[in-house]
């Protein structure tokens, strides 16, 4: 009974979440008719981006009471209902934290129109940014969070949680001491949390939890060995492709956690250095992951922010990924040629072969079949769902729910399978990044990059791609990507020809493939090194840079070639 209640309780929760997300995506249709003429307008910042949450007041006297008040919406628009008895002088006063105040006087003709019952459009008002102490504090908190994550001083989640808590601490306890310490309030902070991302990741975690115990990865790796017939030059690309495709459909970290142990066993059985297979595998995982929306956390962030669908990623990035993979395979064959071509390598002892065969069993065929059916359905919904405005998060939650109801696993085990720490990491990361966005740091960076590239789209593509690739080698690519999204959004809005979202694809390529540049560049690298070390095969920082950085340059350059062809040549 208890189990039944829990199963259906989770089902009901997930279904409700799906419905909430589905309805939220459709937007509100109801519009109330204003009872009186309106004074309307739009507030934007100096980068022509709408300013949300600004207080707009209609007044007649400088110190007098406001005749009407409104708060700007997410599109920066406001609508003030004009009172019936209008004075001869009217002005619109705009104020918002982190911006200079502004006052717009209405003309006599405008006031007459209002008296005649006609609405008045004030137009666009640009509010200049104001650098306050909160700006420096928010920036410091963000940088400190990046440092704590990069140095491994604190767990990612703890670092982001600490950052978010400090933002609130300064906002709520600092504001009474000095108004300019206010960064943002809790309600505003929650608006920066992208729930599509959270629910999509949560849904995929449940699907992965079912797949991870089925033995499919071990079976695939063993089949790769069988298919290659022990020829190492062939085994290498097959394993890279298997790993890459699995990374695109699930995620890099999961794939490498499950592929690394079996790859080590195959390598040792064949008498070769496991790093000759592991390094190409993890690099392939970082490269191919970006071909789908769900392949990397950075793509999930980018897709949700820029409204780039599963299909868009597939169509616009896969050819570039294929090109990069061809380059990566050739590079790996060259770099590990001594291992691959050494005489006698590839022969396997009968005892070890028996052990490998033992390992390469599908342990839960029933679960695997069901996961395959549901997984196929999810892919179809990811591909065709955009036609009915079905959000990927809804598809993921529905798929996870279907799988749970069909398989009926131990529900407590499934709840444990959701990596809540990662979800908390994303929520608190969104808050910290929201903090620097709120105080104007992102705008400042965006303006700087905008000034650097001017209206040159090709230069912008190069800057975004290589800047993200190089920075992703030293700082965690998830917070970096989250911070770069509004910057790229600004560049997309301001550079002629960038409306096709090409710069978001550049960010996707740079932030994911940049992970190949160093051991700390991607979580998949870290877990691979962790497991390899436990097999007595340490992957050092220096070793990774030596093998990975040239691969970064090669793969990013090849992907860049495709982006230039796709968006500049083929797009006409």
């Amino acid at each position: 009974m208890r189990r039944w209640i829990r199963t259906w309780g989770l089902f009901a929760f997930l279904l409700s979440a799906s419905l909430i997300l589905a309805f939220a995506s459709r937007g509100s249709r109801a519009q109330e008719q204003p009872p009186s003429p309106l004074v309307t307008g739009t507030i934007q910042d100096s980068q022509d981006q709408p300013v949300e949450g600004a207080t707009v007041q209609l007044g007649a006297e400088a110190e007098g009471e406001a005749l009407a008040e409104a708060v700007t919406q997410s599109n920066g628009r406001y609508a003030l209902p004009a009172p019936q008895d209008l004075p001869d002088n009217l002005f619109v006063q705009i104020s918002r934290a982190h911006f200079e105040e502004d006052v717009v006087a209405l003309s006599a003709a405008d006031i007459q129109n209002l008296r005649n019952g006609e609405s008045v459009v004030v137009g666009i008002t640009t509010l200049p940014r104001r650098i306050t102490p909160a700006f420096w504090i928010a920036a410091l908190i963000f940088v400190a969070m990046l440092v704590l994550i990069a140095t491994g001083t604190l767990h990612n989640t703890l670092a982001a949680l600490l950052g978010a808590s400090l933002v609130f601490f300064v906002s709520y306890l600092g504001e009474p001491l000095m108004e300019d310490l206010f960064i943002f309030g809790f309600d505003r902070a929650l608006q920066y949390v992208d729930w599509n991302v959270i629910f999509l990741i949560m849904g995929m975690m449940i699907v992965i939890a079912v797949v991870e115990r089925t033995g499919i990865f071990q079976w695939l790796a063993y089949m790769a060995y069988r298919l290659s017939g022990g020829r190492l030059w062939l085994l290498l690309p097959i394993l890279m492709i298997v790993t890459g495709v699995a990374s695109a459909l699930l995620d890099n970290v999961t794939t490498m956690l499950l592929m690394t142990p079996i790859t080590i066993q195959i390598s040792l059985a064949l008498g070769i250095n496991p790093l000759a297979l592991l390094m190409p595998e993890v690099m392939a995982s970082n490269v191919v992951g970006i071909s789908t929306l769900i392949g990397t956390p950075t793509n999930i962030l980018i897709g949700s922010f820029a409204d780039i669908s599963f299909n868009d990623f597939l169509v616009n990035l896969t050819p570039g990924v294929v090109l990069a993979m061809i380059g990566l395979v050739l590079y790996s064959e060259f770099v590990y040629r001594k291992e691959i071509l050494a005489p006698g390598k590839g022969e396997i002892s009968p005892l070890l072969l028996e052990k490998l065969e033992e390992r390469a069993q599908i342990t839960q065929p029933g679960h695997l079949r069901k996961a395959a059916v549901v997984g196929t359905g999810m892919i179809l919904l990811f591909v065709f769902g955009e036609r009915i405005h079905l959000l990927p998060a809804v598809t993921a939650i529905m798929g996870a729910t279907a799988l749970l109801v069909w398989i009926r696993p131990d529900i407590e085990e499934m709840i444990e399978a959701v990596d809540w720490t990662t979800l908390v990491f994303f929520i608190t990361l969104f808050i910290v990044v929201g903090g620097i966005q709120e105080v104007g740091l992102i705008s400042l960076v965006a303006t700087g990059i905008g000034d650097l590239v001017g209206e040159n789209l090709i230069l912008a593509m190069f800057v975004v791609t290589w800047f993200s690739a190089v920075l992703s080698t030293v700082i965690a690519n998830i917070p970096f990507t989250a911070a770069m999204l509004p910057v790229v959004g600004y560049l997309t809005a301001t550079i002629p020809g960038a409306g096709n979202k090409v710069l978001f694809y550049c960010l996707s390529v740079g932030s994911a493939m940049g992970g190949n540049g160093s051991l700390i560049g991607a979580s998949a690298n870290m877990v691979t090194a962790g497991i390899a070390e436990r097999a007595g095969q340490p992957i050092t920082y220096l070793y990774f840079i030596k093998k990975g950085f040239p691969a970064l340059i090669l793969t990013v350059a090849l992907a860049m070639v495709w982006l230039l062809i796709r968006f500049l040549v083929l797009a006409g």
Partner: protein, 141 residues
């Protein structure tokens, strides 16, 4: 017959240790029990991806494979060997298994340069602690 417990992983450094233990066992007419200890501490600082117990199970299988190689190596040199895989902290696993088996000696490999996860002084401390806690003789080979 004397019993030597040898904690090992894989890799070149471990193979050197295994060879040294095999030679020692041969000389003293002892049997060897190779031990692989699973710990998933490295997951602490990264995105989890997969449940730690699933990773631990995979590492156990990998450990069994690595130990099978060591056992095969010992057999090829005419030394009888067995293997055990355990989860948990290394010191605790070594002490527990050593006592359960009634091992006469515990052996581990000398750190293999800067890439090793242990320093020589760490190993010496570990050896001293095991000797103190269990009375089993320890060797750093």
């Amino acid at each position: 017959m004397k019993k030597i417990l040898c904690a090992t992983r894989g890799g070149e450094a471990s193979i050197r240790t295994q060879d040294a233990v095999i030679a020692m066992a041969k000389k003293e007419g002892a049997t060897i029990v190779f031990l692989y200890v699973v710990d998933v501490e490295f997951l602490r600082l990264t995105a989890r991806g997969v449940r730690p117990d699933v990773v631990a199970t995979e590492l156990e299988r990998m450990g069994e494979f690595l130990l099978a190689m060591a056992v095969e190596r010992a057999a090829a040199q005419g030394v009888e060997a067995d293997m055990i895989v355990r989860r948990g902290p290394l010191t605790q696993a070594l002490e527990e298994v050593g006592q359960q088996l009634g091992a006469d000696a515990v052996a581990f490999g000398r750190p293999a340069g800067v890439d090793s996860s242990f320093s020589l002084s760490d190993l010496e401390k570990l050896a001293a602690r095991i000797e103190e806690d269990t009375g089993i003789e320890t060797y750093i080979l």
